[in-house]
């Protein structure tokens, strides 16, 4: 069982008004920005359910932009995210969208393009108390929270890939908390997502990339 600390009860310190509609929304965008690995240039936000209904009154739009710009959930400038996005030449659009069946009522899908042309599409749900679940990356269904140091490995579905990743982590003395694999079809594109107990070093990414079936590695620290 996960142990709750005094600072989770008496916290977090956050920008209001809503942990799910403001802090949680920001965290989903923040994870997208980290996975993109470069400065975002154009971003579209598709808002579902309660996000679509109440995004302006909850500052969900500003929180999403602030997350995309790398701000933390307690940063006082979140309110000014529109202005800051303009200054940083980030163009953005919001699309309130009809909730689809089986979707969490606080869901956002993000399509973002970076300054050197890298694309990312990511969807996530804000599940309460500022906690989030990332549900989709580039069209593949996933499930992780970003609460722990997380490695996201984009790969071909081939034998030996998981063994390579785990041996690199073992060599660095990193303990794996959870490991899950997601794929579209057998032998096709896949993701391995690992949550670790220890912080991750950037050098690990290079070592993991040495396997020919691994296309890319993203790290959320």
């Amino acid at each position: 069982m996960k142990r709750i600390s005094a600072f989770q009860v008496m916290g977090p310190v956050m920008i209001g008004p809503s942990s799910s509609h403001t802090a949680g929304a920001l965290r989903i965008a923040q994870i997208a920005a980290r996975i993109l690995k470069e400065t975002p240039k154009e971003v579209d936000f598709y808002l579902y359910g309660s996000f679509a209904e109440t995004y302006q009154g909850h500052g969900t739009d500003r929180a999403l932009l602030a997350g995309m710009l790398g701000y933390a959930t307690d940063h006082p400038d979140i309110r000014d995210a529109y202005r800051i996005a303009d200054e940083k030449q980030l163009t953005f659009r919001f699309f309130p969208t009809e909730l689809q069946e089986g979707m969490h009522p606080n869901t956002v899908a993000i399509k973002v393009v970076g300054t050197s042309g890298n694309n990312l599409s990511l969807a996530g749900a804000s599940i309460g108390g500022g906690e989030v679940v990332i549900t989709n990356i580039n069209g593949i269904s996933v499930a992780f929270t970003g609460e722990y140091p997380t490695l996201i490995v984009q790969q071909q579905d081939r034998p030996g890939v998981a063994a390579h990743i785990t041996s690199v982590l073992a060599g660095a003395g990193v303990n794996i908390g959870t490991i899950k694999m997601y794929r579209e079809y057998r032998g096709d594109r896949a993701f391995t997502i690992l949550e670790t107990d220890d912080r991750l070093d950037k050098e690990l990414v290079q070592q993991i990339l040495e396997n020919q079936h691994i296309h890319d590695v993203f790290m959320i620290d």
């Binding site: 009860v9 920008i15 209001g16 799910s20």
Partner: protein
């Protein structure tokens, strides 16, 4: 270690310690941190709380939805003019608590205690009392640890989320946490703190979560104000030696059960309660057209 009021009380009685000390011990044990570090971190939370109380009184805040703004100042004006009918401490506690909700609704910095929607009660009430009693900050840090212990038990045995348990789970929990902390600050035993928390929760049993237009503004802000009064009066009753006939743990379980029995329309969906009244719907429509 404790997971219930009963266990918390046993820990306190066996070691002859306060609830705040039991909570600090638990943190030390579970998260391998030292007491100085923990107290320092909690002092930072208190500083944010103090700032959130002050900014509503010193600044003109506009809420994102525009349903609230300026209420804390109006209440302070009455209190400062010597007109408060419920006494100076209560009037201040109510004004401060409502002010924090203005800060929250205008995208200011707050401490979710335990949630953003109930973030006014604990800082508002404790700040008003600190001013009156000239308590040191170190006492306020203890009070926050004591309050966290109560919040922790409610979180583990029931819920503090409006979407799961209605407003009783949010502002009710915040008030219960505050009432327990007040009793410890006043030098009462851990048992008295638990009675105060139980009395507080019983008083709002069944309170629904029905935010107008789905926003954390109204009736949330006023429920924070009245939550402050609930905390003060529950503490007053317990401090007088009047116990809660139903023990804290049983009240928490009952609250969780009532929360789960509430229809979804009354759990933060803005589909029932005052949100669904003709005026509530008209306000929602007005906000929609503003887009």
């Amino acid at each position: 270690m404790f997971g219930s009021g009963k266990e918390l009380l046993a820990t306190c009685q066996n070691q002859r310690i306060k609830i705040s000390q039991a909570m600090i011990q638990r943190e030390q044990h579970l998260f391998e941190s030292c007491p100085d570090q923990l107290r320092n971190q909690m002092l930072q939370q208190w500083r944010v709380m103090e700032t959130s109380v002050e900014s509503a009184l010193n600044q003109s805040l506009t809420s994102m939805g525009g349903l609230i703004g300026g209420e804390a100042k109006k209440l302070m004006k009455r209190q400062q003019a010597g007109k408060a009918i419920c006494g100076d401490i209560t009037a201040k506690a109510v004004a401060y608590s409502m002010g924090v909700l203005e800060v929250n609704a205008s995208m200011g910095v707050i401490v979710a205690a335990p949630t953003a929607g109930s973030s006014g009660i604990l800082p508002g009430t404790l700040k008003a009392l600190q001013e009156e009693h000239s308590w040191e900050d170190t006492h306020m840090v203890d009070a926050l640890f004591c309050a966290s212990a109560i919040g922790l038990i409610i979180t583990e045995k029931a819920t503090v989320a409006g979407a799961e348990g209605g407003c009783q789970a949010e502002t009710g929990s915040a008030a219960a946490m505050t009432a327990a902390a007040i009793c410890e600050l006043m030098g009462a035993s851990p048992e008295v703190s638990l009675h105060a928390a139980a009395i507080c929760l019983k008083n709002v049993m069944g309170q629904v979560c029905d935010p107008i237009a789905g926003l954390v503004e109204a009736p949330c802000q006023k429920r924070n104000g009245i939550g402050a009064a609930n905390a003060l009066i529950s503490a007053e009753i317990a401090l007088a030696g009047v116990p809660s006939l139903i023990p804290f743990d049983e009240v928490v379980e009952a609250m969780g059960h009532v929360g789960r029995s509430l229809p979804e329309s009354l759990r933060e969906t803005a589909l029932g309660g005052v949100a669904a009244t003709p005026t509530g719907c008209a306000l929602k429509e007005k906000l929609r057209q503003k887009k």
